[in-house]
């Protein structure tokens, strides 16, 4: 974990995680990616707490790909925490989720999500969606200094 983390993927579903990583790899974005399996670990990592206490002042990732439904701390709670903290509110957060449910989308935008992407069931579409998200945030988006 010495090298800088640019993309943080928080996803409890290993299949989805594998497909996401595969899509990103195809676009050569996989080397600066970290995959964490739940919301609690993600928060520890970002705030340099718990197992990640040594990362206290480390650079924030360029984008966080966040699943909605996860054990312990779910995606919405993670999002709320990030967006309500001055240190982390500028980090772009993209919800990558299976849920098309309107209340979920509404809630995420209310909390200040930067993007909300529904994972397509079809593999081709899924790969295409992930690739586009990765490329956009890594290449096109200009983060604040």
């Amino acid at each position: 974990m010495d090298h800088e983390i640019e993309i943080l993927l928080v996803e409890d579903n290993m299949s989805d995680a594998e497909m996401t990583l595969r899509a990103l790899k195809k676009n050569h974005l996989a080397n600066k990616i970290l995959h964490l399996k739940d919301g609690a670990e993600a928060l520890d990592f970002i705030f340099g707490e718990g197992d990640y206490a040594d990362r206290k002042n480390a650079q924030s990732p360029k984008v966080i790909l966040l699943d909605l439904k996860m054990p312990k701390v779910n995606g919405i709670q993670v999002l709320e925490r990030l967006k309500s903290d001055e240190r982390t509110k500028k980090i772009p957060v993209v919800m990558l989720t299976s849920s098309k449910e309107d209340p979920d989308i509404q809630e995420c935008y209310r909390l200040g999500v930067n993007s909300y992407v529904v994972k397509p069931v079809q593999f081709e579409k899924f790969v295409k969606a992930v690739s586009e998200v990765g490329l956009y945030w890594m290449m096109l988006n200009q983060p604040p200094n």
Partner: protein, 671 residues
């Protein structure tokens, strides 16, 4: 004795010559000589005289003798001594007495002639038939004339006095009579003027009537006279009443009463009547006078008052009956009130219950006093106090409260849900409230709510969790193809394709199912929709998804009040169905049109495609029900079920007509 007579006495003293004196003496001496015999005979004669007999019979013998003696002495003194005045005085008294007694002068003269006849035989006896007898007879006649003259004069004088007195008396009586007659005439006039008078004979036949009688009865006098009173009989009084009148007056008694009579023209009048019977010497009535006064007005007033009285009484009776009915009704209401399972109460504006029906005590477990002596807010759940106060203020301002729900604490600390309906009486400030215990319903609702929540959570899970493994199946199949495709033969590749196809299919199924279940919870939000604009939008959306070759004709569509998103879904499903099922035709045509009929707007989507057999119509709108195989036409069997559900939510109707290979028409109607 009258003064006038006294004054005249002196004039009565006779002036006698010597010769006359001797002649009177010649008579007197014989008379004196035989006086006892003469007076005895004379007294006897007098007793037999029709007038004097009665006069002297009452006088005792001694007094009569005394008087006679006194009279003779005065006579003797006058003739012998020429002292005439005492004799004249005595004789005058005699004359006045006779006059006062009403004696006839002639009768008295007869007595004097009798006396002469008694004396004459004694003169004959004394003087024989010579000159001496003539002389004594002349003397006797002369004396008798003097005595008679004195008595006659006194008699006449007295008689004159009496006549004067009597004339005066008669005049006074006449005056009195005249006065009485005048008074009676006045009375008669007054009676005639003021009263209605009829005189009848003893049989009741009218003999006379006055003008008033004619005026009120409207009959002329001629028409009335000779008739009896039946001519004005109104028929109002009973026979017994009339009989009683006759019995009374025929017995000579006065009858008095009120009678109702009928005039010639039929008008009715009332008279206060007094019938006076006039009786003959045998005390039998020979005529009757009926005196009447017109009391029609008074009687009418009386009748009016009586009628008013009766009306009043009727009203009182009605009112009483009403009241009794009301009490009965009130008791019935009371029965309702006391036995109702709804909580009924009257509260005041100070925030206290005043009247509660028994179920309050029974169910809440408090005593009546506890309920009425504490503000009702004390029994309300703390979380409901604000809303209860709001409703209470609303009520006090005169508004109704309908289906307001709050919680009331029972004696055991648990709460009941009350659904209140209340109405205020602005005049008294009282609040009339009825509550229904909806605790059980509320529990059911809560249960339903939690079931709904569960269902939502379930849908959420389906949406979220079912997709992930599908994506994985699909993804790994694809990865297999990408990574190991070179090592797989055609059959291997076909299998991978089928895996992907089925996974995608299942994705669509899940999506449709979720859409369908979401509809159950979604509220309809109506707005005015331009259906042409909506349909154009649907076509653009469809073109994005898939290409097709159908010719789509859209007519002028009606605007409609409906939920935009839901109606969009309806049109999308119907048009895409039409396109899908007509896609195998050479020239697929879809027609979209609308019409207004019986207050409904009917939209129709018609195609010339595969159609369907009406035999299976009942399966058309069922969930997962299909009339075609997947090989013929792909589909999940949810689309029409969604359409039906949306139309039902709009309280509209949906129906379809079809024929195999000749197309189908789907119609829906919205008000």
């Amino acid at each position: 004795m009258q003064t006038k007579v006294k004054n005249k006495m002196k004039e009565l003293i006779p002036v006698l010559s010597e010769k006359e004196k001797q002649e009177i003496f010649a008579y007197y001496s014989v008379y004196e000589k035989y006086v006892y015999e003469i007076s005895e005979k004379g007294t006897k004669e007098l007793k037999e005289h029709p007038v004097f007999g009665k006069l002297i019979s009452g006088i005792p013998k001694e007094i009569a003798a005394e008087r006679s003696k006194f009279s003779r002495e005065l006579q003797k003194d006058a003739i012998i001594n020429n002292n005439w005045l005492p004799y004249i005085e005595y004789q005058t008294v005699q004359g006045v007495t006779y006059a006062k007694m009403g004696l006839d002068f002639k009768a008295w003269y007869e007595v004097v002639v009798l006396a002469k006849n008694h004396i004459v035989p004694y003169l004959h006896k004394e003087y024989g038939n010579g000159m001496e007898l003539v002389s004594s007879l002349t003397g006797m006649n002369r004396f008798m004339d003097i005595a008679m003259g004195i008595i006659g004069e006194a008699y006449l004088q007295e008689k004159e006095e009496i006549i004067i007195e009597d004339t005066k008396k008669i005049k006074a009586l006449n005056d009195e009579l005249e006065q009485t007659v005048k008074e009676i005439t006045d009375y008669k006039y007054a009676l005639d003027e003021s009263s209605i008078i009829a005189i009848t004979d003893q049989k009741g036949i009218i003999k006379n009537v006055n003008n008033n009688f004619c005026t009120i009865s409207k009959y002329s006098r001629e028409e009335l006279i000779g008739q009896d009173h039946r001519i004005i009989n109104s028929g109002y009084h009973s026979k017994e009443f009339i009989r009683n009148i006759w019995t009374t007056i025929a017995n000579g008694k006065i009858w008095q009463g009120e009678l109702k009579n009928k005039a010639k023209d039929g008008t009715i009048y009332w008279v206060d009547t007094t019938i006076v019977p006039f009786l003959d010497s045998e005390h039998k009535p020979f005529q009757y006078i009926a005196i009447r006064s017109d009391i029609t007005e008074r009687k009418n007033t009386e009748l009016k008052i009586k009628k008013l009285h009766e009306e009043l009484e009727q009203k009182v009776n009605d009112r009483t009956a009403d009241l009794e009915r009301n009490i009965l009704q009130l008791n019935e209401f009371k029965h309702f009130f006391n036995n109702s399972n709804d909580f009924s109460c009257i509260a005041n504006k100070e925030g206290y219950f005043e009247i509660l029906n028994p179920i309050f005590e029974k169910v809440l477990g408090y005593s009546r006093n506890e309920l009425t002596e504490n503000p009702f807010l004390d029994f309300v759940h703390p979380d409901d106090i604000d809303s209860t106060l709001r409703e209470y203020e609303k009520l006090k301002s005169g508004a109704l409260v309908i289906n307001f729900v709050n919680r009331y604490r029972k004696n055991d600390g648990s709460y009941l849900y009350f659904d209140w309906n209340a109405t205020p009486n602005p005049a008294t400030g009282k609040l009339y409230c009825i509550a229904r215990d909806i605790t059980a319903r509320k529990a059911a609702e809560d249960q339903l709510l939690s079931v709904n929540k569960e269902l939502e959570a379930f849908s959420y899970s389906v949406s979220h969790d079912l997709r992930a493994p599908l994506r994985a199946v699909n993804g790994y199949a694809q990865m297999l193809n990408e990574d190991f495709g070179t090592k797989l033969d055609e059959e291997g590749k076909r299998i991978i394709e089928n895996i992907s196809y089925n996974a995608a299919k299942m994705g669509t199924l899940i999506d449709d199912l979720l859409t369908f279940s979401r509809l159950g919870r979604k509220d309809v939000q109506k707005s005015l929709i331009d259906m042409n604009e909506l349909t154009e939008g649907v076509l653009i959306e469809m073109d994005k998804a898939d290409s097709h070759s159908a010719k789509i004709n859209i007519g002028k569509l009606h605007t409609v009040q409906a939920d935009y998103g839901l109606l969009n879904q309806v049109m999308f499903n119907l048009i895409s169905n039409a396109v899908k099922y007509s896609s195998k035709k050479k020239e697929p045509v879809v027609e979209i049109f609308s019409e207004e009929k019986n207050g409904e707007i009917i939209f129709s989507v018609k195609d010339n495609g595969a159609g369907f057999n009406m035999k299976y119509y009942d399966k058309l709108f069922g969930v997962f029900q299909r009339l075609h195989s997947q090989e013929e036409f792909e589909g999940t069997g949810v689309g029409l079920a969604i359409v039906q559900r949306i139309i039902a939510k709009h309280e509209g109707r949906i129906w379809a007509e079809g024929k195999v290979n000749e197309g189908a028409t789907f119609n829906f109607a919205i008000k």
